[in-house]
């Protein structure tokens, strides 16, 4: 029982960066733009957020910086694909390569300047990131640990996912966004400013991805900078968008399931299932591939795939 609770708590922790990445990418894809640069945007967010945290020792500032960095990298993507109508896949892949390279470069550059040879976040900020404790609630048996023991990131992520779900399904801005992703020509004819809607939501999505990135750099490795700290999570997030059927609410479930897969190796003793560790490392990617296969075979039910996903929109095209 105890180990199960520990496992679930760890799963939520491991799923949180995926949650940010997935929700960010859902907002992006709902504009009809497939941004394969999630990994890159998360890496840039991870790097900038970590460095701001390292120098200012301020948790809130670090998160804001990571969101701003993610938003900026999404802006690059938006300028290229929305305004200059570059190929979305190529642009996204390039952003990923650029983002990882940028983060590693800055990381090593600053690392080399430190006398100790390691980059470790100051005490103040690591304390702020630790699990919360609400007196009276966090002490409750089982529930306390399962619901009220996480890092603030987890709650921020869930709140963002819920707000996104409400935004998409119950507001006019969300309706406009969905219309742009489904049929930009129709949205344009209805007087929606297609370009502006695309920019705003792509940038917003990037900001959310950026926060997911800073979780990777600040929490996963216990506050120590290492290179490639996002490590492929961005790619899983892209696949999770399909798993979640483009719905932020499902993204919460999906990312925690994948979080569980990632931490499974620590909770299944070798004596029970004698698989090599590498098998567990492979598992999320294997399941991702399976999800893609299954979801492409699924025919029944409403598939929320935006009809104009991947197609750039040019009003005067003849």
């Amino acid at each position: 029982m105890e180990i199960l609770i520990k496992f679930l708590v760890a799963a939520v922790g491991a799923g949180t960066p995926l949650l940010f990445g997935t929700v960010g990418e859902i907002l992006t894809e709902k504009t009809g733009h497939l941004n394969l640069g999630v990994e890159g945007m998360m890496s840039i967010g991870a790097c900038v957020g970590f460095m701001v945290g390292y120098y200012t020792d301020n948790f809130a500032l670090a998160i804001l910086a990571s969101a701003a960095a993610g938003a900026f990298s999404a802006l690059i993507y938006a300028v290229l694909t929305v305004t200059f109508m570059a190929n979305q896949n190529v642009t996204g892949l390039t952003l990923t390569i650029f983002g990882i390279g940028f983060a590693n470069f800055i990381g090593i550059f600053i690392l080399n300047k430190t006398p100790e040879g390691t980059l470790k976040l100051p005490e103040n900020i690591t304390a702020a990131m630790r699990g919360i404790s609400i007196s009276g609630l966090s002490e409750l048996p089982v529930v306390g640990e399962l619901l009220f023991s996480y890092s603030p990131f987890v709650y921020i992520g869930i709140i963002i996912a819920c707000i996104s779900a409400w935004y998409l399904n119950h507001t006019k801005a969300g309706l406009n966004l969905k219309a742009v992703g489904e049929n930009p020509g129709a949205a344009d004819a209805a007087g929606i400013k297609v370009t502006s809607v695309k920019y705003r939501n792509i940038i917003l999505g990037g900001a959310i991805c950026g926060i997911g990135g800073v979780y990777c750099s600040m929490i996963i490795n216990g506050g120590v900078w290492i290179s490639n700290n996002v490590g492929g999570l961005g790619w899983i997030a892209v696949a999770l968008v399909i798993f979640a059927n483009w719905q932020p609410a499902y993204a919460i479930l999906g990312s925690f399931v994948f979080g569980a897969l990632r931490v499974l190796k620590y909770y299944i003793p070798q004596s029970v299932l004698p698989f090599p560790i590498a098998f567990y490392d492979m598992l999320p990617f294997l399941i991702t591939a399976l999800v893609l296969v299954i979801s492409s075979m699924r025919k029944s039910g409403r598939i929320n795939l935006p009809a104009a996903l991947g197609l750039n929109y040019f009003r005067e095209e003849r």
Binding site: A179, E182, A186, A187, G191, N304
Partner: protein, 533 residues
């Protein structure tokens, strides 16, 4: 309409009427002066003048590429004119975006519907409106109120992807009315409707006219121009040629103005002797991918030296029927007998070798049959390269064929190697049809060969088909325009929801009768026969 109209930014008829009384009859809803628009080297609109009054229906007539749609796109803010002035209600305006157009009370109903398929009607209608999102019930009430005023029928909760073409058009009309449009522009609204649906649309338009709306309708069909409009403005090659009162005109005169020279509007129907059956379809059933029946147990035959017209609302199974005969779609039941040999189960290339040829012109015109980015030569090769021996392709015969088609059919193209997507719609269709005819088939199936073509090009296509008929080819012609079907075909078969609702002699039937059968009513004579039996 309740208090709704007070939200509207622009004049209603009552108000317009007052101003009209003050200023005399000079007030136009829209007045365009010397509008010019160029795309690169091409002058799409050359100093065009056009005007419409409130409470008037103006028809805009012109051949393909005469600049009708370009002009209307400028009024709805999608393009910007290079020069010229636009006046709305007497005031000069600049329309920079669809929002501007909407605020000026201009609503455009596009030829290809601008609807989000994944939304219900209601969401499509409120799309782009300002302010907070209301409760669905409130919106739904408002929509119902507007539809009652104009006699429209709609289910606000229904998803667009589940709607028929006519329902979708209703949503389009409601969309602009909901936003307070009183100047409506309809771009070829009847292209996809049955005669009954067209008549209903016209009733709606007349009602709008009564309420004081200014309406511009673009259409190719002269009968409709004569039926609905008050005045006609004719465009030719980007210039406005003339504006005439409809009552002083007939189809012949309008055609002359549009084409620039007298054109015969007769379609000949040569009668061929000894028409023996060459292709017999027996109890054919074809399923769609979702398991429902696209073609439901139909039987008919096609004879040598005749044109069998096929009428039906779009999506009644025409496409599946073509594909099943051509061997592209498997049939679940029945047989297609060609000279008493079953074609079902044979591959498309085997069927082509037997002499059954199909040319299907889909809505996007290029989708089936031609490769858009290849030149004419390569497109000719598509059908013949397998016959060549060895691994190499001989391009010479194909190039010669392409050259001969250009001469014979008057295809306008810079050269045989120019990608066909750069040709205009009419020329693309000539390439496709020409290639099919050149393979000298004994059965020619052609679907929508005149889709989107202007009068001149259409008549070239009809002549081509008649020429084949005279060579004793059996032609199956799937068409949209009932007037043409009636004149061109020997017999007309009507499809509705995958079933045949009747096969009639084209010389003896009427448009109304075909229209009734298209909506599912079996031919009255059949019923009488049944009653007698």
């Amino acid at each position: 309409m309740g208090g709704h109209e007070y939200d509207r930014p622009f004049l209603y008829f009552e108000r317009a009427g007052n101003i009209m009384a003050e200023q005399g009859k000079n007030l136009y809803a829209i007045e365009c002066k010397k509008i010019t628009k160029t795309f690169g080297q091409v002058v799409a609109n050359d100093e065009i003048d056009l005007n419409v009054r409130y409470g008037e229906i103006l028809a805009l007539l012109g051949e393909n590429g005469s600049g009708k749609t370009t002009l209307m796109n400028m009024l709805s803010g999608i393009y910007h004119p290079d020069s010229g002035q636009i006046f709305i209600g007497g005031k000069e305006v600049k329309i920079n975006s669809p929002v501007d157009a909407m605020n000026l009370g201009i609503g455009m109903i596009h030829q290809h519907f601008k609807l989000v398929e994944a939304f219900p009607a209601m969401d499509n209608i409120i799309l782009g409106t300002q302010g907070k999102k209301e409760k669905n019930k409130v919106t739904s009430e408002k929509i119902k109120a507007i539809s009652q005023t104009y006699g429209l029928e709609i289910e606000p909760e229904k998803y667009v992807c589940e709607m028929s073409v006519s329902e979708k058009q209703t949503v389009e009309i409601l969309k602009v009315l909901y936003k307070g449009a009183e100047i409506l522009i309809l771009d070829e609204p009847t292209a996809v409707l049955t005669p009954q649906e067209t008549e209903r649309l016209f009733q709606i338009l007349r009602k709008m006219k009564e309420k004081g709306c200014a309406i511009i309708i673009i259409t190719h069909k002269l009968q409709e121009v004569l039926a609905i409009s008050d005045r006609v403005t004719i465009l030719r090659k980007g210039k406005s040629i003339d504006t005439v009162e409809t009552s002083s005109c007939d189809a012949q005169k309008l055609t002359e103005l549009m084409v620039g020279r007298p054109v015969s509007l007769e379609i000949e129907r040569p009668i061929m002797e000894n028409r023996e059956t060459i292709l017999k379809v027996v109890d054919l059933t074809v399923n769609k991918s979702d398991g429902s029946k696209a073609i439901d147990d139909i039987s008919f035959d096609i004879r040598k030296g005749e044109i069998l017209g096929v009428a039906g609302v779009a999506g009644s199974g025409q496409k599946e029927l073509c594909e099943a005969i051509a061997g592209l779609l498997p049939a679940s039941k029945g047989a297609v007998l060609f000279n008493k040999e079953n074609l079902l189960g044979k591959t498309p290339s085997e069927i082509i070798e037997k002499g059954v040829s199909m040319s299907f012109v889909p809505e996007d015109r290029l989708g089936m049959g031609l490769v858009a980015s290849m030149g004419m030569t390569d497109n000719m090769l598509l059908k013949s390269y397998q016959k060549g021996k060895g691994p190499f392709i001989s391009r010479k015969p194909a190039r010669e064929l392409a050259d001969s088609l250009i001469k014979k059919l008057g295809i306008v193209t810079p050269g045989t190697e120019t990608p066909v997507r750069l040709l205009s719609g009419g020329n693309v269709q000539k390439v496709l049809l020409g290639r099919e005819i050149e393979s000298s088939p004994s059965v020619l199936i052609t679907a929508y060969p005149v889709r989107g073509l202007d009068i001149n090009s259409s008549y070239t296509v009809y002549d081509l088909l008649n020429e084949q008929k005279k060579k004793n080819v059996a032609v199956m012609y799937i068409g949209e325009d009932l007037d043409v079907l009636l004149e061109l075909s020997d017999r007309i078969m009507v499809l509705c929801h995958g079933k045949i609702t009747g096969i009639v002699d084209a010389a003896k039937t009427t448009k109304e009768e075909i229209g009734m059968m298209m909506t599912g009513e079996n031919r009255s004579e059949d019923k009488e026969k049944e009653a007698q039996a």
